[in-house]
Amino acid sequence: MAEKILDVKDLVVEFNTDRGGVTAVNGVNLEVFKGKTLGLVGESGSGKSVTALSIMRLIPTPPGNIAAGEIRFRDKNLLDIPLDNMRSIRGNKIAMIFQEPMTSLNPVFTVGNQIEEVLELHQKELSNAQRKEKAIEMLRLVGIPSPEQRIEEYPHQLSGGMRQRVMIAMSLACEPDLLIADEPTTALDVTIQAQILELMKKLQDELGMGILLITHDLGVVAETCDDVAVMYCGQIVETADVKTLFAHPQHPYTKGLIESIPSFDSTSGKVKDRLPTIEGMVPSLFNLPEGCNFQGRCQNVSEKCRGSAGEPKLETIATEHQVRCFHPLS
């Protein structure tokens, strides 16, 4: 069993808004292991990004606040340490890349400058020349051609895919133990997506970091993840290793997500006639139903789901396979 580097326990994150308080993340448990990738999947608004930002303690406070739970990184609870210590972990031990490569880099500094800034912050022993050399090396590592010239360029001179590579180079410059990737390929076109995912996989093999990959794309999960956690309305509804999840999804929501991946029929070579979708909408966090949050969209819904038995709990149904459903599929 690989070493556990991140252990999120019963995380609760609340936001105060003009319309009242909402619980964006409600009792989430996650584990990320060294050299492994955990995929965190869910629709927009399911609390994936809030979970990720909480781990970095980057939730804007106010309006947000981490109300309960623990975020154990190796042996420390990140929620207990002073902000200064947290800063020395950010970008150093835990790094993060974001969905928006076009705007995530500062437009008025060269990419070299921005990579060197991380090194300056966390590896103070390096000289200026060493920092520059390391920045060039990182750009080469992420597959940017002629890095010696690119280092002098500004973000606007690079394409979206190149910028995301720069973000990866920047995040990996200090060889973090954990990389949080929040929809790193969503804003990129499909061929570039595949390149970036492959690159992350390759760098994971070389550097041995754990990755928390946030995505709404199960195709990406199938290609890159070892374990998967599916989120719905701020809660984890199913978690398993990637093979089990795709082969035997237990939660109707997971099944719906898998079925709505566009695919070819491999024997006939034809595209399936109609892409199945999950009917209905995600309920508003301001107005969650009694009982199961998925009841309004579920085909197997029963009286029990409508609140007579309270909320469904996350139950272990097989080793390393948990599901939050009163009527698991098999």
Binding site: M56, R87, I89, N92, T103, S104, N106, V108, V118, M167
Partner: protein, 313 residues
Amino acid sequence: MNIYTYIMRRLLYVIPVLLGVCAIVFVLFNLVSPDPTLIMLGKHASVKQMAELRAELGLDRPMLEQYFDIVKSAFTFDFGRSWTTKQEISEMIKAGAIPSLTVTLPAFVFSTILSIAISLLVAFYRGKAIDKVVVFACVALMSISSLAYILFGQYVFAFKLGLFEISGYDAGFPYFIPYVLLPILIIVIISVGPDVRFYRTVVLDEVYQDYVRTARAKGLGEKKILFKHVLKNALIPIITFVVIRIPFLILGALLIESFFSIPGLGGITLNAINSSDFPVIRAMTVLSAVAYIIFTVITDVLYTLVDPRVRLS
């Protein structure tokens, strides 16, 4: 294209703009405004007297010639003589510019630095009590008429408490200093309200950008983020706002100069307007247009230095 060719090219663009400005000035003064000889001689003047005065002032010359006089003055700064004082206008401007600048320049520098500093501070504590207090104070400061500040300052600080000179001016350094302190203070107070509000908005626009989140995720502290990442981006709109105000410093502060009897360009302009001294008004108009155009070019050049996205081509 390097920066020098860029500057040269921008300066060449200035020429048609200047010709256009001169045309507008010409139309305003020669075609739209009433006959100056009528104003100068009063309504009982004879036609002969008026014709003589027109010849004396050069108003009987061909239109095109008069237009090119204006164009020429925009390049040579030779604006002829004042109708009322008969002085060389360029000499009057030279004499008036220095008293004006002794008031407006320090006031501008202080208020700009103070406003940017305050706006960074409130951006740092955005949403907290200090931010709200400062925004409220700015609105309160802006809501009071500048006349109130002038009269209050002169009466309380200068007359009652004797902290400053009430009005007047003494040429030469350092004799002018006691006379300019109160006007400077008043200009700073008048400008700080709107300035802080503007700079605060600019800085807050940047604070919520994605690159700030990236900087935090790198482990940077809030101060470093604000002073390095945010400030350099915020400088782009700030530069426009600051640089474009510089030409108006030379032109002086009309109200302040007249209340404090400072013999600056503001006062000269005011007198010229009162006595229908067309060449002086025209000179000030042309001068401000030229200064404005030049500083617009300077702003554009500064952009290329601050914002790498502005291409030189």
